[in-house]
């Protein structure tokens, strides 16, 4: 129960003023610009766009600045902002096979046509702090090799030729949208993917890790991980044709999972799928593992009671804005609830003491 309490207005105003001052930090240190955040903290910007579910690097950078680097708070700001925007339509499904890749690797095929392209990755760094970054300095240009930009085929496509891997048949049904209709369970795979791609990276990562440790094991390999930009196309009714309305950077992960077969399906490889805004490869890999774990029912696998197999558990707890809202609300005034509990405990104590005295 909540009661309206007056009297905090001045305190709140002053708290906001101090918050602004603390956000700015030492005025002797140059102020951080939104451009700097967008360019130099790009992975944080990507995470805020993915979990905020709105692709706009400038807004995400602004949210990070305003939130003092608290990324969940920044996601909250983006989610709040996006509710003010009219929905002008939906895009055609993006074609990830036409992606201009800056990174494309496979853990299953060394000699994948198109090659393994590492891109700007942390993978082979030694995770040693680079004290040179303490000083500002120009970064030398990265080497370049001859290249013709163009699409590269999906690696898992090569397994299709022998029918060794399940394929997702094209389909043009209108997908459910959890930003418009409350999520209803059981959820379709489309709805699950929407919930996972905007879900908290830490939560999705932990769920995925739990499957690797045996809670809903799916024997996943990364068939292909690719990062790059894709065009976004939308049908414009007044034109009568589709035009590109922009381009977005995406990370896509396809896992290849061993599958023993079921009554209806022969043994083959199955897939998990992850697609996330920005360069977010940990999230994309995790998403594809969780997607695969949640598919146990349609593939006729056993439910082992693993959290990552439990659709209700995963989908209802993946959203960090819902989670933080409910979690943090318990710090707000609950004076009446607590007063009631206080009365109850006092009464119980009194009764217990009376009984004790009577017994003595």
């Amino acid at each position: 129960m909540y009661v309206a309490v007056k009297g905090g207005e001045r305190a709140i105003d002053n708290a906001h003023a101090w918050l602004a001052e603390e956000r700015r930090g030492d005025p002797g240190v140059a102020e951080l610009s939104v451009d700097q955040i967008r360019e130099q903290l790009r992975l944080a910007v990507n995470r805020v766009m993915a979990e905020g579910s709105l692709y706009d690097p400038d807004l995400a950078a602004l949210a990070i600045k305003q939130a003092r680097g608290d990324l969940i708070e920044a996601v909250f700001l983006i989610r709040a902002y996006r509710t003010t925007l009219p929905r002008l339509g939906h895009s055609r499904p993006v074609d990830s096979a036409a992606m201009a890749c800056i990174r494309r690797i496979s853990a299953t095929f060394k000699d994948a046509p198109g090659g393994q392209v590492l891109g700007p990755t942390f993978d082979y760094t030694h995770r040693l702090l680079d004290f040179k970054l303490l000083a500002e300095g120009a970064v030398p240009a990265a080497p370049a090799s001859a290249a013709t930009p163009g699409p590269v085929p999906h690696i898992t496509g090569f397994l299709n030729r022998d029918g060794m891997i399940e394929t997702d048949a094209p389909d043009e049904t209108t997908p459910p949208d959890l930003t418009r209709e409350p999520m209803e369970l059981p959820a379709s795979r489309q709805l699950r993917l929407q919930a996972l791609t905007r879900g908290d990276e830490g939560f999705v990562l932990s769920m995925a890790y739990s499957t690797q440790r045996g809670y809903g094991r799916t024997h996943a390999f990364v068939g292909e991980l690719r990062i790059g930009t894709v065009a976004v196309e939308m049908d414009i009714p007044e034109l009568g044709f589709a035009v590109e309305i922009g381009e977005v950077e995406l990370t896509e992960c396809e896992t290849v999972n061993q599958f023993k077969g079921s009554k209806s399906e022969p043994p083959q490889f199955t897939r998990g799928y992850g697609l996330v805004f920005g360069q977010s490869e940990r999230k994309a890999i995790a998403m594809s593992l969780v997607d695969r774990a949640l598919r146990w029912k349609e593939l006729g696998e056993d439910f082992n009671g693993a959290p990552a197999q439990d659709e209700e558990f995963v989908l209802m707890h993946a959203d960090n804005i819902q989670a933080t809202g409910f979690l943090e609300h318990i710090k707000l005034p609950h004076y009446v609830d607590f007063q009631a509990e206080l009365e109850l405990v006092r009464r119980m104590r009194a009764e217990a003491m009376q009984m004790q005295e009577a017994a003595e």
């Binding site: 009219p86 929905r87 002008l88 339509g89 418009r180 009714p237 007044e238 034109l239 009568g240």
Partner: protein
Amino acid sequence: MTPEALTGGFADAPVQAARAFRAALDALSRPGVIHTVAGATPPAPLSVAAGVLLLTLADATTPVHLAGDHDCPALRDWITFHTGAPLVDAPSAAFAIGRWGALAPLSRFAIGTPDYPDRSATLIVEVDDLSATGAHLAGPGIKDHAHLSLPEVAAFRANRALFPQGCDFYLTCADRLAGLPRSTIVEAC
């Protein structure tokens, strides 16, 4: 899309839509009170008032049904360009627009479900004459009683009997509109 389809929208959408929304809200809150609205110049046969209602209330998430003469290319294009609303058959409509005869029978339209009575259609009825005379109105939002020139009485009585399910209505004539929610009790005068 015809060039005419691209004209006739709100010039200053935030302000005009806010004013129109207030009029639409007041009209349903005070059944029988007639409001004058402005800002839309839709192609014939849509009235200004019905055009304003569509620009204000319809978007890509509200399927619209055009009945009778209102189902014409010029109007279809105008609604598509200015609101993005999908054009659908009567049972799927969130909004339906037409003359009274073209909208009948009302049983074609969604009346909501017992759990979700709001999942019902709102009908925009284009009339030749709109005045505070004729049928007797009573119920929520009406002090004592009101009168409104309705095309008939029986259909609105039948709709009232479905409460809390049922359709809601706007009557539009040129730049004027009135509301008739499902909660209003209609009787012949």
